[in-house]
Amino acid sequence: MISLSILEAGLVNGLLTGGVYALVALGLTLIYGVLHIVNFAHGSLLMIAMFGGWMLVSWAHLDPYAALPLMVVIMFVIGWGLYAGVIGRISGGDDRRILLATLGVAIVLDNLALVLFTGDTRTIETPYQFAVVEAGPLLLSVPKLISFGVAIVLALLLWAFMALTDTGRAIRAVAREPDGARLVGIRPGRIFALSYGIGIACLGAAGCLLLPSFYVSPQVGNVFVLTAFTIVVLGGMGSFPGAVVGGLLIGVTESLGGLFLGESLGPIGISLVFILVLLFRPTGLFRAAR
């Protein structure tokens, strides 16, 4: 049988990973909440963010956490440009076309990375890579702890931005009622691009937070994409607290799934949770915060 301490370790590890998942999911849920599109390019853009971070670390010799603010800005610009230049422009507002457009973007990005970086997996080296701290009976990985902390702080910052700033309020107004927002002088087109940009900027941060403990490859987005969708659906599409709680829950589910079901069957837990939530509670645990 699995001993209690292994179970505890699995639980805590899952929670720590879940913090970064939550950040990935926040971006996805923001985009869904405002634009009402499921961004199928999310995983691919996370992959781009991770490669960006990887380049800054291995070529410019930055620390991954120092590269974070830079990647947030870069990914924001990429996201903004992608929406304003491609997704928003070609889809004509039609749901099916938006859906396919985000898929098209994902295909292009995945294969662009394959062309530029080949299919090899890459990792970075940091002095604290294998550092651990003791917490009672548990050994906690330092980079995972840092990543968790930073992710939670960033989630709070994003929440504060949405709740307290004029821009945040404008975004929420558009999410609730695009036509009404237009009447009070907000331009929804700009807000859409801005929201997409912010959603993708979350990936810039998440990419850097993942780097110390995860590999990078052109396919790495696929590892996270279904997980991110699951979190968002579980938490309720468009819900901020839902994305955070969902992220932590899914981190734990994944960690325990691996523990109980083994390496190859473990990931099935997430897919099953996903299908069951979609079929039986498609509104998720939290209703979308409108």
Binding site: V38, V86, D95, L103, N111, L265, S271, I275, F280
Partner: protein
């Protein structure tokens, strides 16, 4: 000229039989095979508007069914073909009944199909009966009764036959009551329900039909390449390939997947000659998909429609 192009296409499809070039036969076979895959997706997703991102699930079910039946139970693959079609239809019916009853549409349906395929991929990767990540090798015994072909032309002929059947189904959808009601559901669900069309049943039937056709493509794959593994069978690339072929050629049309397959393989081979880097050709497909969505939402086949419609109108006016 344009009116006769289906005849031209049939002639072109038959040409490789007269040639001894393995390259030509191979190219024609792979193109026809892609067209079959695209048509499988097209039946549910083009005509019914059920955008699936996980159609590989049906392909994989077909491929694994025939592989397991013959390697484990010694069942002849010719019997495996109808059995796989039935399994594919059953999977479509189960997935459809569950998803449509829960009211999933659009992005949500795309997500659930993606997850469904992923569940099957993980299962195939972990179970004994599928030999996990090793995959299943089908022993080489080329002969017609064994559903294996020493000459590629035999395999090609079979792909063509199944493609013809799939196109026949698509043509039937264009003409039949079921097809008309399915298209109505795609265009507007509320209006369709108001006119007495049972939404869940119609969509589920379409998905089952599509599942059956796609599963036969899986059988063909297994018999042509004699090997199946979880990523080949249930990987996202397979789902994307089907979608690309149908979308580029023209979703909801009879000839769209054929056109899409030809374009895709032309690009693939040209791209390989120019820059032989993995990822280059698929990157072009993605870009073409974006261009199609932007400029030709009805695909390449959509190019012909306006011309034909105006011609018909002129006849009527005269």
């Amino acid at each position: 000229m344009l009116r006769y192009w289906p005849i031209l296409a049939v002639v072109a499809a038959l040409l490789p039989f007269a040639s001894s070039s393995q390259f030509l036969v191979n190219l024609a076979m792979l193109t026809a095979f892609s067209a079959l895959l695209g048509q499988g997706w097209n039946i549910a997703c083009g005509f019914g508007g059920l955008t699936s991102f996980g159609h590989a699930v049906f392909f994989g079910i077909g491929a694994y069914a025939v592989a397991i039946m013959q390697t484990r139970f010694g069942i002849n693959p010719w019997l495996g073909l109808p059995a796989a079609a039935i399994l594919g239809a059953a999977a479509g019916a189960v997935l459809g009944a569950a998803a449509f009853r829960a009211g999933l549409r659009g992005s949500y349906f795309a997500l659930v199909t993606l997850a469904f395929a992923e569940v099957f991929r993980i299962l195939a990767n972990s179970l004994d009966i599928t030999k996990g990540g090793l995959g299943i090798l089908i022993p080489l015994h080329p002969s017609l009764p064994n559903f294996q072909f020493a000459d590629r032309r035999g395999a090609y002929a079979l792909v063509l036959v199944l493609l013809a059947v799939a196109m026949g189904i698509a043509a039937w959808l264009r003409r039949s009551r079921f097809g008309a009601r399915l298209v109505a559901v795609r265009e507007n669900e509320d209006a369709a329900a108001a006119l007495g069309i049972p939404l869940v049943r119609t969509k589920t039937q379409a998905l089952a039909l599509s599942g059956a056709v796609t599963a036969t493509a899986g059988v063909l794959y297994a018999q042509m390449f004699l090997y199946v593994d979880p990523n080949i069978a249930f990987g996202a690339e397979r789902s994307v390939e089907m979608l690309l072929v149908a979308m580029i050629g023209g979703a909801g049309t009879v000839w769209g997947p054929v056109l899409g397959a030809i374009v895709l393989h032309l690009i693939q081979d040209t791209a390989r000659m120019l820059i032989d880097t993995p990822g280059f050709a698929p990157m072009l497909y993605g870009a073409i998909l974006l261009a199609i969505i932007a400029f030709l939402p009805n695909g390449i086949a959509g190019l012909r429609l306006p011309r034909r419609r105006s011609a018909r109108e002129e006849v009527r006016r005269a």
